[in-house]
């Protein structure tokens, strides 16, 4: 088994490297592979524009794809175990709805604010800030609720209620918005990983690392939670503390990713299942690294497809993650006939 895992991990690592190279070398402008390597290794490419596209456009996009893939997949894994629900994802607590509400407030509701505020809020930082505030608010509410509620299912239901509530407010905003505002908001909701500056990427990277550290702390409790909350208690696990850590990790991962890249569908829900199916284990130590690798690979692959190399149009990343991902998961489930 250990041997099998080693082979699988080596294979996935190699695949990650290959998809990373594929992602950087393919795009709407055809750049010879030799020039791609020259640009990446600091030698000058034969065309200035090629070098700029590789180093300042495709490379940040690829790194963002990896961070998004890691963050969403890990938070999906945490949520599925915490709620013992195979349909749970990073957004199940209403975090993405919270982000959406923040962003909707800024994009669609900026008309209600003084011009000085609306100018800042409509800049990219304003949108990021609003998204973070939105998801943090929902997180705080979830934490307050989870102090009072004993069981995880109730928290899940409360999370869904938050989602409905925020979606309703967003729809009121959209009703009163102009076409341009609606277009901006719709674009944000389609997700985008191509617009981040290096500064944005470093902030996202820090958030992802913090989220991952907290996730690592909760690997043992997660294994215990698989057997049910009562069993975990009998093993001496502090359920409440574990729950806080898991919810916090998920929130910082999903919240920061939604802020920078918009709400990206499917990855958080599907990748943990792919990890479980591939590694045939429920050990979270193994699943953690498996999910991390698979998430990055899938996200890079989806981004490569969404760039539509050879065509003069691109597709929104959100559409691709679901179009490509859903059939894969369905096929795997049908083949395995069961999913835990």
């Amino acid at each position: 088994m250990k041997n099998r895992n080693t082979i699988l991990f080596s294979g996935l690592s190699l695949l990650l490297l290959l998809t990373l190279l594929l992602n950087i070398s393919m795009g709407q402008v055809a750049i010879p592979i030799k020039e791609v390597f020259r640009s990446l290794f600091g030698c000058h490419a034969s065309k200035e524009t090629w070098e700029y596209i590789i180093v300042n456009f495709r490379l940040p996009k690829a790194i963002t794809a990896i961070l998004v893939g890691i963050g969403l997949s890990i938070s999906g894994l945490l949520m599925q175990t915490l709620f013992r629900n195979p349909l749970a994802g990073p957004y199940v607590l209403g975090l993405s709805s919270g982000s959406s509400l923040g962003v909707a407030f800024v994009i669609l509701g900026s008309g209600f604010l003084p011009a000085v505020f609306s100018q800042f809020l409509l800049s990219s930082y304003g949108i990021i800030l609003a998204s973070c505030i939105g998801s943090s608010l929902v997180l705080v509410m979830i934490l307050i609720v989870s102090q009072r509620l004993r069981d995880t299912m109730s928290i899940l239901i409360v999370g869904l209620m938050f989602s409905s509530f925020t979606s309703a407010i967003v729809s009121v905003f959209t009703y009163f918005s102009s076409a341009e505002q609606l277009q901006k908001y719709t674009f944000w909701s389609m997700g985008s990983i191509g617009n981040l500056s290096w500064q944005n990427i470093s902030i996202l990277a820090v958030c992802t690392v913090v989220g991952l550290l907290f996730s690592l702390l909760s690997l043992k409790p997660l294994d215990a939670l698989l057997l049910g909350e009562n069993y975990a208690k009998s093993m001496g696990l502090n359920i409440r503390k574990a729950r806080y850590i898991i919810i916090f990790a998920t929130s910082i991962l999903a919240g920061s990713i939604t802020a920078f890249a918009g709400p990206i569908a499917f990855i958080g829900l599907a990748v943990p299942h792919l990890g479980k199916l591939l590694f045939q284990t429920s050990n979270h130590k193994v699943l953690f690294f498996a999910t991390l690798l698979i998430g990055s690979i899938i996200m890079l692959f989806c981004d490569t497809i969404s760039q539509m190399p050879g065509f003069d149009f691109t597709l929104p990343i959100n559409a691709i993650t679901s179009i490509i991902g859903a059939p894969i998961v369905i096929w795997l489930i049908v083949r395995k006939k069961s999913i835990q």
């Binding site: 524009t49 596209i53 300042n56 102009s178 901006k184 944000w188 617009n195």
Partner: protein
């Protein structure tokens, strides 16, 4: 008695003859020449006592034509035309739904007839804004979801709507309630003069066809003169247009009116070979590869300074046109409530847009001219 009967018969015969003659007079004094020369989306044919306005392309790929009868006072409309919408002209009150309809009202000096508009904040025209501030123009909500109750209360003589497809339930409802709705397709026109000629559509409503024709002819003359001036240019600068919205770069397709204007201003717009009238939506790298060395960059009006541009997207700074500060925008001229004047007025005044472009591209050809819409971003 006999003479009495024959007299009566004779009078009837006379009456019949004259009534026939009257009717044939209205049919024979047709000057059914179409008064529209550039616009492909509508035609106006004048008859004795009424005009027929036909709108052909209110939205792309429209399959139906819409016929409206503008009946003058005491004008007789033939039975064969009575199934169409009949509007008594000159109208006294109007509701329009697009800012592009506003300049025609202003040029025809009929701003006082406007009683309602959806999303008043978009309007830049100072005359109209003054009337909004005075509470004389009612806010009607959204174009796709007009406030029916307010419009019913206003009872305008005519509502000028526009559609993006054949579904606009609000306009249908207003029509069912007995209000007169006319569709306007100025936005779907493919040439600059075609767009501007829609002033004649409004001229016909106010019984001011002659005045509308004079205004348009003046615009046409100036526009064609500017094209001639532009041909004298010794250089043909390369042009990058548009900018990024989220992560897509939108720029005019090769046969759109924006692209044609750039061509007529004697420039080499880098995407002029593409076909279509809407916008291209390209990735950053495609645009960067092709337009990094472009001489001049005409942005979409999103930005009002170079810093604003790089704050939103640092990649912009890598274009030569940006480095050389050759970036132009029309976002400077705004109405009191933030509506960009260009969107409202440019379709009506292609002469000014073209002059602006010629001044930007070949400043030596128009020495005394100050651009009206565009300004260089600092």
């Amino acid at each position: 008695m006999k003479s009495m009967i024959s007299r009566i018969l004779f009078s009837f015969a006379l009456l019949f003859l004259f009534s026939c003659k009257n009717e044939s007079k209205s049919e024979t004094t047709i000057s059914s020449k179409n008064e529209v020369r550039y616009a492909t989306g509508f035609s106006i044919q004048n008859y004795f006592g009424y005009s027929v306005v036909t709108v052909k392309n209110p939205w792309p790929k429209a399959t139906k034509t819409y016929t409206y009868i503008l009946k003058e006072k005491n004008g007789l409309v033939p039975d064969s035309l009575k199934q169409n919408t009949i509007i008594s002209v000159p109208i006294k009150t109007i509701v329009v739904t697009s800012t592009t309809h506003i300049p025609s009202l202003e040029m025809l000096d009929e701003v006082n007839t406007l009683v309602g508009f959806p999303h008043c904040d978009y309007i830049s025209s100072e005359k109209v804004r003054a009337r909004i501030d005075a509470g004389k123009i009612k806010e009607l909500g959204n174009n796709q979801d007009l406030n029916t109750e307010v419009i019913l209360d206003l009872q305008p003589n005519v509502i000028i709507g526009y559609g993006i497809d054949n579904k606009n339930p609000t306009l249908d409802n207003l029509q069912k309630s007995g209000l007169k709705v006319m569709l306007n397709g100025d936005w779907n026109e493919e040439t600059a003069l075609g767009k501007a000629e829609w002033i004649k559509f409004f001229g016909a409503l106010y019984g001011k066809q002659k005045q509308a024709d004079e205004i348009f002819t003046k615009i046409e003359k100036d526009y064609l003169k500017t094209i001639t001036i532009a041909k004298m240019a010794k250089t043909t600068p390369t042009i990058l247009a548009g900018d990024m919205f989220e992560d897509r770069w939108y720029l005019p397709k090769g046969t759109s009116w924006g692209s044609l204007l750039l061509k007529q201003a004697n420039s080499n717009y880098l995407w002029q070979e593409t076909s279509g009238t809407g916008s291209l939506s390209l990735s950053f790298e495609t645009v960067f590869e092709k337009a990094k060395n472009a001489d001049i960059w005409i942005t979409s009006g999103q930005f009002s300074s170079l810093k604003e541009m790089t704050d939103l997207n640092p990649h912009y700074a890598k274009f030569d046109a940006f480095r050389n500060k050759n970036v132009y925008s029309f976002s400077g001229k705004k109405g009191k409530t933030g509506g960009i004047l260009y969107y409202e007025l440019a379709p009506n005044r292609p002469d000014l847009v073209l002059k602006d472009l010629v001044k930007i591209l070949h400043p030596e050809l128009l020495p005394g001219y100050q651009p009206f819409f565009f300004e260089k971003l600092q």
